[in-house]
Symmetry: C2
Subunit: 217 residues, 2 copies
């Protein structure tokens, strides 16, 4: 099975459980003897981590929405060219926490930046890579945000940037994720992430392994 390549992206709002699932799904696939790379955005490369640090305002930096978008896409250029594409070329199942879908949802639908420009940046500068499978962890914003707040109270606060934006923003983000899922129905699975995490992970592992098996046939 080592020759199987696939690009699987986890998308969803705050508190949807993506970060836990990145580890949980990757470990489950490794137990099935897939080569797996678990990675996340922004980040994944030293350049991306440097940008992530700038975006999280650790040094009191304050970004215009347009600049924020550009830094997100710059991190993705590095991530795709240096990490994701080489791994896919080498028989790896890449599981990625967020990708262009998050940029469309947060910077496009959420911030109101032009969606056509985001798509064009993805096609012309990132190179147009799209997920083979997107797992959308759909969660009601009020529930996801409540989970995030609990997590923030017990963890570092550098995750808080997008999580403290107001509920209307998160409603727009959720609606856009669902719109994207509808548009790409044949390569998206929507999972109800309002349930407790173990149920979510069990369903995701089952559906992703089923998809990988059907793909190998």
């Amino acid at each position: 099975m080592s020759a199987v390549s696939a690009f699987i992206v986890l998308e969803g709002g705050e508190g949807s459980g993506k970060t836990s699932l990145l580890g949980g799904l990757s470990n489950a696939l490794r137990q099935l003897h897939f080569n797996v790379l678990a990675t996340r955005e922004p980040g994944g490369t030293s350049e991306g981590l440097a940008l992530r640090k700038l975006l999280l305002s650790a040094d009191g930096l304050d970004w215009e929405h347009g600049a924020e978008l550009l830094l997100m896409v710059a991190a993705r250029v590095q991530h795709v060219k240096r990490i994701i594409e080489p791994a896919l070329a080498n028989g790896t199942v890449v599981v990625c926490d967020r990708f262009v879908g998050s940029t469309l949802a947060y910077q496009g639908a959420g911030r109101g930046l032009p969606v056509a420009l985001i798509e064009e940046l993805h096609d012309k500068l990132v190179g147009g890579l799209r997920p083979d499978l997107t797992v959308l962890l759909d969660v009601e914003p009020h529930l996801g945000l409540a989970r995030s707040v609990r997590r923030l109270e017990t963890a570092q606060h550098d995750e808080g940037r997008f999580e403290t934006l107001k509920t209307a923003f998160h409603e727009r983000v959720r609606a856009d994720f669902l719109r994207q899922a509808d548009k790409n129905a044949n390569r998206t699975v929507i999972v109800d992430a309002n349930r407790d995490y173990p149920f979510v992970q069990a369903e995701v592992v089952a559906r992703v392994t089923e998809w990988l098996a059907s793909r190998g046939r």
Copy 2:
């Protein structure tokens, strides 16, 4: 004269004398009682300076050309919204060392990135601001690069990123600056920067003050 606003951009290749001229021209205009803001790209804001540091590879970072473009534009978004536009709204002559013309010349013509996308980023994310007057300091690449090398030998090396690229690249950059000047002939002055610096400064100060005077009439 304090109510005069104008956006004057200095463009040109390596070793054309832009940086000296930023100070020389600004001082000359101040002596004529204009309110002057001298600024440069990338930089100008704390966010831009942070990006400049990342771009100059101080920490061993290595950027894809597409990512480099995005960071340049992100710095410009911050620069325009936070520094340049407020200054222009407040009766200031802004003199800026490099602007979108450099991105078109270096990242577009030089690196081969899509020019239409660079224009679109400028219009949609930077907000479409264009110079009222561009001063193109035109210099033969072999001469400009020789000047840069002498400067690099006596200065910090953090200026070296674009200056060590090969001559063919700089020929493309120069040709593009001249093409832009031709396209925007009514708001560009081309100055022969192959001459010794004092002659260049004298001509630039004369032509810019003449332009400012004609504009006030």
